[in-house]
Structure formats: structure tokens, C-alpha cells
């Protein structure tokens, strides 16, 4: 077989350029043969003594600690001159409520939003972009979107959603709803603040989904067009 495919005779023993050990059973199985599998010890004597390795680990911890404290010392010299915001910090910790991590993804799937139309309704009310086609509710794997369709007050628009409820406690933020939406009515913003005290309040209705303002990432290209950013 190996000659037919033009392979080296040692092809079976080569995996990623490394010569692998031969398997225990080559060819026919003979009755009564016992093969032992074991991993050979690769530790040196210094590692087997256990105490020098512990001391080495503690030295690594101490080195990181004192290095970070020195970095905080340098940061303090910046901070006392009023430049603490731009100075490099001594730790990798992101102080979350005050600052967000710089590589927070602008396409992170978080809290939902319902986009609105530019033109208002006949009585001046805001109309959602949603045409109540039920495609998001069908695509939802958790069955957490509940839509009640109705006739739109605008005579140019055929249908719209009278009620649009998302059970946020069931939602798994897969993004299938915004993939399925044909009119770009529902989007998932990067907003991560969704924790709540009561499950009854985690059913978001249409008015809330249309009116809440995402504040987490102030980036215009995340919300193009429809949703009014100004109050």
C-alpha cells in the first residue's frame, strides 16, 4: 500500500516529522502475550527531590509580585502628576464598572434591540420596523420570542407587531433571530448588563425593546440607520 501511494517506508512511523514508537502489537496476535504500557519517568534528580521545585515555584510567584509592585510604583509617579489614566498599570485586571476591556468585541451578542422606522405613524407614534413575519420566533431554538401580529396604523405598511415579547431568561443569545430577520428589525447589541432581581421583569416587551438606549459601546457603526440614537 505504501509503495502504491508513493510514500516512504517509514511513513507510518512519522507523525509531524517525529518518529513515533511502534505499537505494541505488530501483525498477528499470539495467545498468552502480555504487553505492559507505561510512561517512562523523565524527571531529573533535582525535580524528584520536590523541595527545590517548590522553592522555584515560590520564587516565580515572588518575582511576579515584586515586578507588579514596581510597575504600580511607576504608575504612581504618573498618577501623582495627573496622568494616571494613560499610564500603564501594574496588573492585567480590568476594573470593570469603571473601565471596559479595550478588546471588547463590538459584535458581541448581548441585549436585544428593536429598530424603528424613520417615518412616524399617523398619530405620531413610533412604528417598529418589524413586519410580524414570525421568522425570528421560528428560528429561535429556545422559543423565547412571542409575537402578536396586527394591522399597522400606517396605510402604507401592511402588518406590524402589536406585541413583541422576548423572554430574556430563556434566551441563549445565539443571534439566529437577527440572521432570520428580513427587514433588520431585531438586533443584538453588545450590551452585557442584563442581570436582574426578578424573573418577571426579564420579559422584555415591545416598548422597552424599542426605547432603551445601549450605552456600553459608543460606536456608531454598530447601530446604523433605523434606531434613533438621540432622545
Amino acid at each position: 500500500m505504501s509503495e502504491q501511494l508513493g510514500q516512504n517506508a517509514d511513513f507510518d512511523n512519522l507523525i509531524d516529522g517525529h518518529v513515533m514508537p511502534q505499537p505494541a502489537y505488530q501483525g498477528e496476535f499470539t495467545e498468552g502475550e502480555i504487553v505492559k504500557y507505561y510512561n517512562p519517568s523523565r524527571m531529573t534528580l533535582l525535580e524528584k527531590l520536590y523541595v527545590p521545585a517548590i522553592i522555584g515555584g515560590l520564587m516565580i510567584t515572588a518575582r511576579v509580585f515584586f515586578t507588579n509592585m514596581a510597575k504600580w510604583g511607576i504608575w504612581f509617579t504618573y498618577w501623582i502628576r495627573g496622568k494616571g489614566k494613560d499610564a500603564p498599570k501594574g496588573a492585567v485586571t480590568i476594573y470593570y464598572p469603571e473601565e471596559t476591556r479595550p478588546d471588547y468585541s463590538p459584535i458581541n451578542r448581548g441585549k436585544h434591540i428593536l429598530t424603528m422606522r424613520q417615518q412616524k405613524g399617523p398619530s405620531g407614534e413610533a412604528l417598529p420596523q418589524c413586519v410580524a413575519c414570525y421568522m425570528c420566533a421560528t428560528a429561535c431554538p429556545a422559543f423565547c420570542i412571542h409575537i402578536v401580529a396586527g394591522e399597522s396604523p400606517d396605510p402604507n405598511i401592511e402588518k406590524y407587531c402589536v406585541e413583541f415579547d422576548i423572554e430574556m431568561d430563556k434566551c441563549i443569545f445565539c443571534g439566529y433571530c437577527e440572521e432570520a430577520c428580513p427587514v433588520d428589525a431585531i438586533r443584538l447589541t453588545p450590551e452585557p448588563r442584563m442581570a436582574d432581581y426578578q424573573r418577571e421583569r426579564m420579559i422584555y416587551d415591545r416598548e422597552y425593546l424599542m426605547t432603551w438606549n445601549p450605552t456600553y459601546v459608543e460606536d456608531d457603526h454598530v447601530y446604523p440607520g433605523g434606531h434613533p440614537r438621540e432622545e
Binding site: Y25, F29, D196, Q198, R201, W212
Partner: protein, 191 residues
């Protein structure tokens, strides 16, 4: 099974010649050697498979399939593997709904113990000769077998309410959460 077509794999030909009339049907589609036997021959077939020259000494999987509209309703599927010759074999047998009994493989394979318990747990197939045929994943209070096709998909049998009736309702009485001022909803809270 004396005449075997030469297109079959070597392992399946060996199995067919060895088992003889115990095999009802066979195929090797996609390289999966499969034989269908009667359920009462299950232990004898497994004994022969373990002692034949192919050495099927490992029971990899045991499960069942529910064909709800066919007369022998459940199909018990065993997957055998040989650690000596690296061959695989799938053995099936059909048992009816009113008497879903088949001999157990626990005397031959120790790994069959828990797998047959799981098959009994999910499908209700009874393995005769099993030393400890109890539910393994579900709880003893569970009624019915959930992977049967006639089990309702949304039917739940809560264990906590059955064992501790009324406990959850008295939580608020014992430890009332009065006097708690809940801040309003998330994004409106100024930080």
C-alpha cells in the same frame, strides 16, 4: 450461510461462516459490518464472537432503537470491537413491545452492566440475567421510559416537589424578604 458474496469484508465473511443460521440478515454498508440475529441467541453469539479468531473482546456500546410502528418494536444494538485485530462489528436483534426481553451480556463483558442499565432506563428493554437491573440515570420515582417515541416530549416528573412538598412555598414565610429596596432596571442605574 454457506454462500457468501465475495464483495463482503473478510471479517463479516468470517462471522457469517461461524454463526451459520443464527444470522437473519447482514450488510456492510459504509464499512460497518452488521448482522441481525434473534434476541434469544444474543448471549450465544456474543460468546462465539469473543472466542473466535477475530477476538471481539470489547463491548463498546449497547443501545436500542424504537421503531414505534413496526411489530418487533425495539431493536437492541451492540457494538463490538477487537483490541487484537482492530475489527468492529454491529449486532442487532429485535424484541417485541409486550415481551421486550433479551439475555444479558454481563457474564461476558463487565462493561455491559451500566450500558444495559441505561438501555433499560431509557427504553424499558429488560435484560434477563442482569445482576442489578435498576435505573441508572433517572430516579426511582420516574414513571415510564423517556426515549420511547410515545413519551411526551414536554412531560416532566419533578423529583423535588415529590420529595419535599410545599417546601418552596414556605420559603418566603420562613425568610421573608421584606424591606428590600430593589434598584430599578439595569441600564438605568447610574454608576
Amino acid at each position: 450461510m454457506s454462500e457468501t458474496t465475495p464483495e463482503l469484508s473478510d471479517a463479516l465473511q468470517t462471522v457469517l461462516q461461524g454463526l451459520g443460521d443464527k444470522v437473519l440478515a447482514w450488510h456492510d454498508q459504509h464499512g460497518d459490518d452488521t448482522v441481525l440475529i434473534r434476541p434469544e441467541h444474543r448471549l450465544e453469539v456474543a460468546t462465539w464472537l469473543k472466542e473466535c479468531e477475530l477476538h471481539f473482546d470489547m463491548l463498546m456500546d449497547n443501545t436500542a432503537v424504537d421503531f414505534i410502528e413496526e411489530e418487533p418494536r425495539f431493536e437492541i444494538v451492540d457494538h463490538f470491537f477487537s483490541t487484537k485485530t482492530f475489527k468492529r462489528l454491529r449486532v442487532k436483534c429485535r424484541v417485541p413491545e409486550n415481551k421486550p426481553n433479551a439475555p444479558s451480556l454481563v457474564p461476558l463483558y463487565g462493561s455491559a452492566n451500566w450500558m444495559e442499565r441505561e438501555t433499560y432506563d431509557m427504553y424499558g428493554v429488560v435484560f434477563d440475567g442482569h445482576p442489578d437491573l435498576r435505573r441508572i440515570l433517572l430516579y426511582p420515582e420516574f414513571v415510564g421510559f423517556p426515549l420511547r417515541k410515545d413519551y411526551d416530549k414536554l412531560h416532566e416528573q419533578p423529583l423535588f416537589e415529590a420529595r419535599y412538598p410545599g417546601v418552596r412555598e414556605t420559603d418566603e414565610v420562613i425568610n421573608p424578604r421584606v424591606g428590600v429596596e430593589l434598584p430599578i432596571h439595569g441600564t438605568e442605574v447610574p454608576r
